[in-house]
Amino acid sequence: MNNFISHGVSHIVLAKSIKMFLCRKRLLLSGLAASAFLAGFGPIPCARAAAEPESQNGRIEGAVRYVSDSERPWKFSRYYVKDSEKGFLAEAVVALENPGLRSEPPDQKHNATTIDQIDFQFVPETVAIQSGNSVRFTNSDESIHNVMTTDGERPFNVSMPKGGEYVHVFKDARGIAKPVRLGCVYHGGMRGWVFVFDHPWFRVTSRDGQFQWENIPPGTYRLEMIHPAGRLEWRSEIEIKANETIRLEIVVSPDNIRASKR
């Protein structure tokens, strides 16, 4: 958001953004009627910024929204959907994928991630980082904890006494499909996820279900969303064009809940 162009130009981009938005309805109609999609359009904020004209890159402003179904309740919604009317979904991981992304330089701002253990929970429960970056684990509870995973090529199992700290470098990029699942051997209900990517085009949705990217190289991408705690999944193709801002709303419902393995 540090490359705002003049107010006049941004109006032009706004118009273009809406056009882009409307022509990408297929992104939004995941298992829902068009009327449901239109009803959900309101909360999306208006365009205020444009892509960088010099770099010719694109931009995405997005939101993930969960539409509940009283006949098929998703019990986790009380944790991740702050406003049940609007349905914006927090702590979902969204990522762009295409083969060219791996040449992107590391995103150093994700190299200071901390996961604390508070009230017998990993906080935050879900993080996303770039491979080679680290996560600092801490324990703020009075109780002893542990942080462990059996996933990936470098599993770990570390005792976490009160005030304990452990830093782990995540070297293996497993992408959105294979997060590193965290647990505590003492408290089986504790769980967390570290998503490790080999590019910086990933986000974890905010408390209001929002995410955005700047400076996306033009091209065709696979856009994926996973909410690991609730096993929600969504994916679609998306085309990024130079100097365009795409506003999209990923709408999911119980239809997007992945079946558990027996």
Binding site: S70, P73, Y186, G189, S260
Partner: protein
Amino acid sequence: MNSNQTSTLAPSKHVTRRAALKTGISAMALGAARLSLPTLAFSQPDPGEKLVPFVNMPRTGENRLDWETLDTWLTPQDQVFNVQHYGIPEFDPSTHRLEVTGMASHPRSFTLEELKALSRRDQLMTLECSGNGSSRGFMNAVYNSKWTGTPLAPLLERCGIDPKAKEIVFFGKDRSVETLRKDTPREVSVEVPFGRSMSVEDAMNLNLLLAYERNGEPLEKRNGAPLRLIVPGWYGIANVKWLDRIDIRDRRYMGRYMGRDYVTVRGERRDGEIQFLETSVTRMNLKSVIARVTRNQTRGGSIPLKAYGAAWNDGTEITRVHVKVDDGQWREAALDTEPRSKFSWVFFSIDLGVVQPGKHTIVSRATDANGRLQPASEDDEIALKKTYWEAYQQWPREIEVEA
């Protein structure tokens, strides 16, 4: 309801009420939901009743009982926990066999098909991990089920138990290396199967079941498929998963999870002194917990509250549950009259009246027909317990109510 009258019970698919509590949806929608409620549920909520989340409790994940949305007496599979000490074994269930070995006049081996051809019985039972309730991070390892299988006692009778036999040992398919006297000159490491045991008398008289179904569906592997021992009224550890051998012996079995772990260390007062004893974790203790608290609209600055919960034990009749708010008086809750079953939890509910906005503590305690009272954390039988198994103390729930 006794354990043989279960044919009409099935896992409930009703869920709309849960959603209503969670989201506070309109009274109209709630009314529609109430029409579809089956009998296997908590008492029905009033229109407008909304969940008051517990303070400082961790989120409930998959395969854990979700107390705050609990409304089905038989627990759905996605809320069923599993604990295993040697991992989930890899094997082909289609070739699985159960052997009866040791002091039997007719030792033999059964295929699953042979077991399923034997007499079939349902057993309603609440199964709890004995560590459940030991901390805020482990509060959800309990569930209620209709187990289906063949009774153990007649099968053992057919095998002919030697009158000199004292103990029945149940082995699972899961194995691991165990080390005894570690870091001493007498250290020894051996690979052993997971095992638990009980006396011949208990094994023949407690209505044990060799189960292959839960709630009318085949067992899931993580819960012991294709064959699991079900011991009504005993903690989860006794219910051996992936059961593949029953061994009849004339002396005590002292495997790790019988003789060394799942041993409660507790102090008892004798003549003014505390004497510590080690006892085996076997029968479930009397326990209750507040499952959820709900509120209605604020009236004159006060908020009406209700509480719902569950109580269970080893099958002794549970006669009363009392609930207390903050430092108030204990008040008797209403126990559901249906569904009830000897070894299953009983749901209770209580109108708590009104409270002022702010933080409150709500706690329950159960009483059984023998006059046994669920202890508080400060009572000797909990305070002098040095191990975390058998965590049946009263569990205060904290809530914060907004105006």
